[in-house]
């Protein structure tokens, strides 16, 4: 079965990203396909590579990147939400005149259409928020 996952909150502040990760991992382990993980609202903040969480805590961003690499996940950060919150890749930095970028490994920035498309392709849409 095909799943699309939506994450609406940033790392650490709310449990949304944690539960979404555990669900995604379990779905992949059960042999399902996760067609896309879409990060919306403050969820875009899961896609920065600049976090340094305490060593005795989980690294939420790295964990997503690793799962994406292992399971071939498509991690998409919403461009409109990312612009409001400062998540930037090289293209976005150039377009918006920014002198730095911060996108994490295996994340990409794209439009809201990617969410709609994933919802159409997937058999189930799972939302994790506040």
């Amino acid at each position: 079965m095909k799943f699309a996952i939506v994450v609406n909150e940033g790392p650490y502040q709310h449990q949304a990203s944690d539960t979404a990760y555990q669900f995604t991992k379990a779905a992949v382990a059960a042999g399902h396909e996760v067609v896309r993980v879409f990060f919306y609202h403050d969820g875009v903040n899961n896609g920065t590579r600049l976090t340094t969480p305490p060593q005795d805590d989980r690294n939420i961003v790295d964990r997503w990147s690793q799962l994406a690499n292992e399971a071939g996940l498509d991690l998409v950060v919403c461009v409109a939400a990312a612009q409001r919150r400062g998540i930037v890749d090289a293209d976005e930095a150039k377009r918006n005149g920014k002198d730095a970028e911060n996108i994490a490994d295996s994340f990409r920035i794209s439009g809201l259409g990617q969410l709609i498309e994933a919802a159409i392709q997937a058999d189930r849409l799972m939302t994790f928020g506040d």
Partner: protein, 135 residues
């Protein structure tokens, strides 16, 4: 892809205090281009999103509420508003923006988009959806 799906955008948060109403509306407007069967539900404080007369100027925030007027042009014409949520808040349909759409199959007559439904009806409608967006 193939078959058309029933998409519902469920709005349960008040506007302005958090961004969910505004960014939720952005999803609905973008999603309209994808030719699915789309509706929206306004439940709990979500009914305040379509309260008439919003003016954010003194807060310095953006007033996105006029964008709900665009829903009809985007062919999002079924806006289910839960009667119990309205009543609990002392609101009635006259307190809401007069959101309408033009029916091209009926000589472009303007028709109301807002459909007041009670909890039991809304429960049935929600249960009949294929995809539900929550914020």
């Amino acid at each position: 892809m193939g078959a058309i799906k029933k998409f519902m955008y469920v709005n349960r948060t008040a506007p302005h205090g958090s961004v969910y109403a505004q960014e939720g509306l952005e999803v609905a407007l973008i999603g309209a281009a994808f030719d699915q069967e789309v509706s929206m539900a306004f439940i709990d404080d979500g009914v305040f999103q379509i309260k008439s007369g919003q003016d954010t100027s003194a807060t310095g925030m953006k007033n996105f509420s006029p964008a709900y007027q665009a829903l009809g042009d985007y062919e999002i014409t079924r806006l289910y508003v839960e009667r119990e949520s309205l009543e609990a808040r002392g609101l009635n349909v006259d307190d809401l923006m007069p959101l309408t759409w033009e029916d091209e199959d009926d000589d472009y007559n303007e028709k109301p988009s807002i459909l007041i439904v009670d909890s039991d009806e809304l429960a049935q409608i929600i249960a009949g959806q294929d995809v539900i967006f929550n914020y």
